[in-house]
Amino acid sequence: MSQQILSDSDVRGEEKQNARTRATAWKIPLMVGLMLSFVLWAHFASGVRVFHSESTSESGWEKFRADYGIAYFGQDGQFVRAVQNGYNLVNYTHKYAARFTRKTAADRVNSCASCHTPEDLAYGFVNSDRVDPKLGRRISFEDRVRWCYANGMDGFVPTIYDPAVRDIRLLARAVAHHLQLTEGALRSKN
């Protein structure tokens, strides 16, 4: 009798299990499919920069690359991509550092390039880390960039580690290399 009752319960349990398995069987491939689609979308179609390490080639980059001998650091590579991102940040700040500026495409002054040439940045870089008499403390190149975001760009202060700061420093370094600058080099007046 008890055996009969147990087997009935077993049968019912098994049926329940089978029904549950049937009900959830489609979920696994769906989840895998969703994850796969997200990865493919993020990598190929999203355009969101955190998902890929390539920099978008903006207009003027090839000329900049040729003018400042960026090929010295290789045709491609981490450093070259960072410099390219630096180029984008400097010339299209409203687009590439939208988090740190309130400026838009409609503004007349909406990028670092509106005020600074690449040479300015290079000379600024080799003359950084000095005491600013106005502020009474040593100011690094990164501090200056962050200050520009907050004031010149009417925006917000990135952290010192942010690529929006770092890649501008790397751009300045690459240009300083092209100009063969030494630490503390002064710009000739002519």
């Binding site: 003359n127 690459a174 630490e183």
Partner: protein, 366 residues
């Protein structure tokens, strides 16, 4: 006590605690500002070096070194009083990281020892010549880890971390691994002063940004640069005892005399850890390169590539601290090795003292 009174008391206590923290922070900030403004007492090495490079407060800086070597005076941006002091402090930190020459190490060296475990590590042990090693004629030496040359090549892709490594982060790695210690904040005065000194060196030597110089980093020695005999522990031990033991001690734990460090530890608790690039099993080309170009002091470049690899291999097999990322079990294992191996080794070697060989090195020399 009523509930209201209790609540009021809690609020007052909280405000008092916060005010105390604020007062403490303000006092610490003031103390740091006072140090920044204080006159720097230079170590003898720094006094000589900075005077040779003509570091003074001025609107323009003209390096005597560049003038002497090229015959042309190059005018660069000069240094303010505060810039000069930062450079001087940076030089002191490189030359005397532990503050053994300072009257008050906590004040004069920004208490740099808080980032170091052990009592031996000093930047100058690897970055010899206070980060600017030169021969008798003033020529920078290949593979001498020049700080000025490192500054101009900073921010490049680093194959060990897989990132574009800024100068400050590289310094942090030195503290964590080579000094087996802790990471300073990127804005810490220690890092900023060392950067200021390194940048000054690059100005004094007229090094161009982004250009690779022979004195930058290590002249690495891969196995392919040897006759491919294989790196040999026994050969390494023999060479160590012949060439290195006299300064670094029998078990490579370093030598101290009268409270002064004679030579730093290459193994044991005062040495670099197993995540340092000096560790042969992590990077097999760096320590041999350092040995060949920088050791033994006064007789650099006298060892063959294979000899340097053998010594590096031997040294790296001696017990040393585990790296921070290796977890407590490995750390415990290394701690046990460092504790029990030295007495065991002494015990094993002791019977030979009265018998065949008091010192194994001369015996093997025959």
């Amino acid at each position: 006590m009523s509930t209201v009174a209790r609540k009021l008391l809690s609020i007052v206590l909280l405000v008092l605690v916060l005010a105390g923290i604020y007062a403490l922070a303000t006092q610490k900030h003031k103390q740091r500002e006072d140090i920044r403004q204080a006159t720097v007492k230079l170590t003898p090495g720094c006094a000589e070096k900075l005077s040779r490079y003509g570091l003074v407060r001025n609107e323009r800086y003209r390096s005597p070194y560049v003038l002497q070597r090229t015959g042309t005076a190059v005018s660069l941006r000069g240094y303010s009083d505060e810039d000069v002091r930062a450079i001087q402090r940076g030089c002191n930190i490189i030359d005397d990281t532990q503050g053994k020459l300072a009257r008050d190490p906590a004040l004069e060296r920004w208490n740099t020892t808080r980032f170091i475990r052990g009592s031996h590590a000093s930047c100058d042990h690897c970055h010899q010549g206070i980060g600017d090693k030169q021969d008798a004629h003033g020529n920078p030496l290949k593979g001498s880890l020049s700080l000025g040359a490192s500054w101009v090549m900073a921010d490049m892709y680093d194959r060990f971390t897989g990132m574009l490594l800024p100068f400050e982060l590289r310094q942090m790695q030195c503290f964590i691994n080579s000094s087996n210690g802790y990471k300073p904040n990127i804005a810490d005065d220690v890092l900023r002063d060392v950067t200021a000194y390194s940048r000054f060196l690059s100005a004094a030597l007229a090094l161009k940004i982004g250009k690779h110089y022979d004195e930058q980093g290590i002249d690495e020695i891969p196995a392919s640069a040897t006759p491919k005999q294989g790196d040999d522990y026994v050969r390494g031990e023999f060479l160590y005892k012949e060439k290195c033991q006299v300064c670094h001690g029998r078990q490579a734990f370093g030598l101290e005399a009268n409270g002064q460090l004679v030579a730093p530890a290459l193994a044991g608790p005062n040495a670099w850890n197993t995540q340092s690039r000096n560790y042969f099993y992590y990077v097999s080309t760096i320590l041999p390169g350092f040995i060949c170009r920088n050791m033994p002091l006064g007789a650099e470049n006298t060892l063959s590539n294979q000899e340097c690899r053998d010594i590096a291999y031997y040294i790296s097999n001696l017990p040393r601290p585990a790296g921070d990322r290796q977890g407590p079990i490995i750390a415990l294992q290394h701690q046990a090795l460092m504790t029990f191996m030295p007495p065991l080794m002494r015990l094993m070697e002791s019977p030979r003292k009265g018998g065949v060989a008091a010192d194994p090195a001369p015996e093997r020399d025959k």
